[in-house]
Symmetry: C2
Subunit: 468 residues, 2 copies
């Protein structure tokens, strides 16, 4: 690093009684997320690091950090557990990494709701609410390590979305406390439609310190795996199962052969190499209905946790750790050259589109679907494994999907726009003008702020000047 | 009654230690349901009565009744609380009315499930499960009086169907204990796909004595009423709200002006005569999201229980008693000449079809929609008020709906087929052959049993010979 930010020293001094880390190796480690799932981001972001990691323990300490950094023009990038895959928490312009891991109190639990600080682990929230028979509606596959604030600021949905839709849907976050990046930081309580200003904004326009989340009934979800001769058989089974309003599921995913056998090492004994699977989390009392549905559709339940021996279950990860981006993670452990995509197959033609893409790409993109409710309908995202050969081919694969009417949420881009809807979120931009007038929060992630005239249809990604 | 069934006396003798009622006035009262919502059924069924009412207190007593009646060829019509509208519980051939009201024990409550006897009141089940934070998924608007067995054998869905679909959906009933009508009655435990044999079979092929039902999280649901200038504005609001996966609702109905003002007497103060309404039951923690959604859609929340004064709420019925067939009931109390229909507006054209029917019939059929999940999609049933003029016009109204692609579940017919899908349910018929070889259970309700060649396309209803 050659251009040392002159504000760093005064910031360090102002915050000297806080928990501050400046050991470069540790700071670099705390500046990373799971961007390296993407060979493209790996090249672009591998050297990115902050200058200091500050770990506040209270909201007052958060405010002190923001105030000091505002005064001295030091960028601040908020971090939960760093389990994002889009470089969400990577400090492109250096400065302070604001690590919220210790702002993690669970403050209040009521019927259908929990209030907790942003750094609370998602699994810790469930541990606190389960004795009362409640749990969070939604969680990522990184359930055991991710924070609730990181999920809300950087994620969109996951396990539970087959029932509840995504985080962006009204009602899936009740309220959030947001601190602005100003000379005198304001504390805003956001609810209803206002939440869209800060959800999935990567912390570019405010620091979420506390959230109120809806809870739902907690059950001892039964892990189930069904095996199929073809990927499309598995996909059609899941597509029909997702439409069963009475069968309570928390997860419904489909993974094409040979991925399950090749990458799910501890489940391999249940699977043939040529078998595609549907993975499910099923409410215990829904198992008779699920079994009836599977029998009717001639699906072979190769594993069900409710009838498995305790010994047998002991060595197995939960099926949610075979799903969403854990599918990719398990693949990367076996073959570090693969990567993935995130695709939406819009309702009502999702099966036709999945079939067409499966035929087009064959084993270059072994299929992986995650079924969700999306705008009130049941459809699926695709998170196929990509047998990566070059950036050019990856771009072509993306283009072919989009030309076929399957929008790609490109996980090989670190900006909100390119990883999302390829357009400016005017509401988030307008809020950033109010809440972060100096543009110090997570710089380089909102193209609309840095380059309002950026042409999304042009070739090539947005390149943030701060990427050193 | 002239043809006295010679089996009655031996049956009475065999069951003399049971609770038996033969006072004709009481027997007649216990032979009736809410068939009189229909002017057609009123004419046909008004004189229908059983001969004896037997009220067993245990399953063993049920078996004794069935055994005795089988031996002596006495018909048996099972009855819950008699809140059906299709004459489900009316004993067309006389004989024994098997009143299950005292077979009402709640036997077991676990996470997500309750086991109870068929005669348990739905509200009593919820009273027992609510202290543990659980309640039934679905209930009819006759929540306070209906039994769970009656709901399952004679109903199809209701409050809660916007979340869970209908009773016929796999998983919405976990299991049922069914007693057959044979020389030696068998006890069958039915689960999964088998349940379709006895659900909504009006007790024509077995006596359900016990059920296991799924439970869901119980909340203090907030009654909300939104007012609109037109029926279609209200309908489009509800149609969009039903697609909000994150806003937890238990009820979502729409009722056209002038019905709310004219018939909802205790809510009249909140309503203009020309106002159509959307009635909702909303989870308390979803109220900020609901309010945001309403504001965005410019809906006027004329009543919300969470901000109403205690005094104000005291005199008001719950909104579920403005919905489903309680809408009709409130209408009948004000104007006994009205009746109603039950229509399905199939997804995805439900709004277009509702609009077309609204334009076609105007104030002859003030609109009433109930939004539900149906085969995985959100759509609506219509239960319009019908300003009845003649049977012929009623038939014409039904025909016009069916010609427009809106199937009618005709509540002016007492048979399973005519009130349902206008076709034989082969599975229920096959099961009746096994379980009721003499055809003694609720005679006259399954056309396929009595007249396999009945022509559903011909004019006029099926006329059961036993109708005296």
């Amino acid at each position: 690093m050659t251009d040392v930010n002159p504000g760093l020293e005064p910031v360090r001094k102002a915050l000297q009684d806080l928990s501050i880390e400046d050991n470069p190796a540790i700071v670099k480690q705390k500046s990373r997320d799971f961007f390296w799932y993407s060979p493209v981001l790996k090249k672009q972001l591998d050297r990115v690091t902050g200058d200091l990691v500050v770990t506040p323990r209270t909201e007052d300490e958060v405010i002190r950090v923001l105030k000091a950094c505002f005064e001295h023009d030091v960028p601040v990038t908020v971090r939960g557990a760093g389990t994002g895959n889009y470089g969400q928490a990577m400090p492109l312009a250096g400065g302070v990494v604001l690590n919220l891991a210790e702002l993690n109190k669970i403050k209040e639990i009521g019927p259908g709701r929990v209030v907790c600080e942003a750094g609370a682990l998602i699994s810790a929230i469930d541990d606190a609410t389960r004795p009362g028979g409640q749990e969070l509606r939604l969680h990522p596959s990184t359930y055991r390590t991710a924070t609730i604030g990181g999920f809300i600021a950087g994620g969109s949905g996951g396990i539970g979305s087959i029932r509840w839709g995504g985080l962006r849907d009204l009602g899936n976050v009740i309220s959030a406390r947001v601190i602005t990046m100003e000379a005198e930081p304001r504390i805003l309580d956001m609810t209803g439609a206002d939440l869209a200003k800060v959800l999935h904004a990567y912390g570019t326009n405010g620091v979420i310190t506390e959230v109120e989340m809806p809870l739902t009934a907690a059950y001892d979800w039964v892990d189930v795996i069904a095996g199929f001769d073809t990927f499309m058989d598995a996909a059609r089974f899941a597509d029909a199962l997702g439409m069963q309003d009475g069968i309570l599921l928390k997860e419904l995913g489909v993974i094409s052969a040979p991925i399950p056998h090749d990458y799910f090492l501890r489940h391999r004994k249940y699977l043939r190499p040529d078998q595609s699977v549907c993975v499910m989390m099923v409410a215990p009392f829904a198992m008779p209905a699920l079994a009836a549905f599977a029998e009717h559709r001639k699906a072979d339940l190769v594993y069900r946790a409710d009838t498995a021996e305790a010994d047998e279950k002991k060595g197995l990860p939960p099926v949610f750790e075979l799903s969403w981006n854990h599918t990719t993670l398990r693949g990367l452990r076996v073959d570090s050259t693969i990567t993935y995509l995130q695709i939406l197959y819009p309702y009502p033609d999702q099966m036709k589109k999945v079939d067409a893409m499966t035929k087009l790409f064959g084993d270059e993109l072994p299929g992986h679907l995650e079924f969700v409710r999306f705008d009130g309908n049941v459809t699926c995202f695709g998170l196929p494994v990509v047998r990566y050969t070059s950036d050019e081919r990856l771009e072509e694969i993306i283009r072919l999907h989009e030309e076929a009417g399957c929008p790609v949420f490109n996980p090989h881009r670190y900006t909100l726009e390119e990883g999302g809807m390829k357009q400016t979120d005017e509401q988030q931009l307008a809020f950033k003008r109010e809440s972060d007038p100096k543009g110090l929060l997570n710089p380089g992630k909102m193209i609309a702020w840095d380059d309002p005239d950026f042409d999304f249809s042009a070739d090539g990604p947005f390149l943030f000047q701060g990427l050193r």
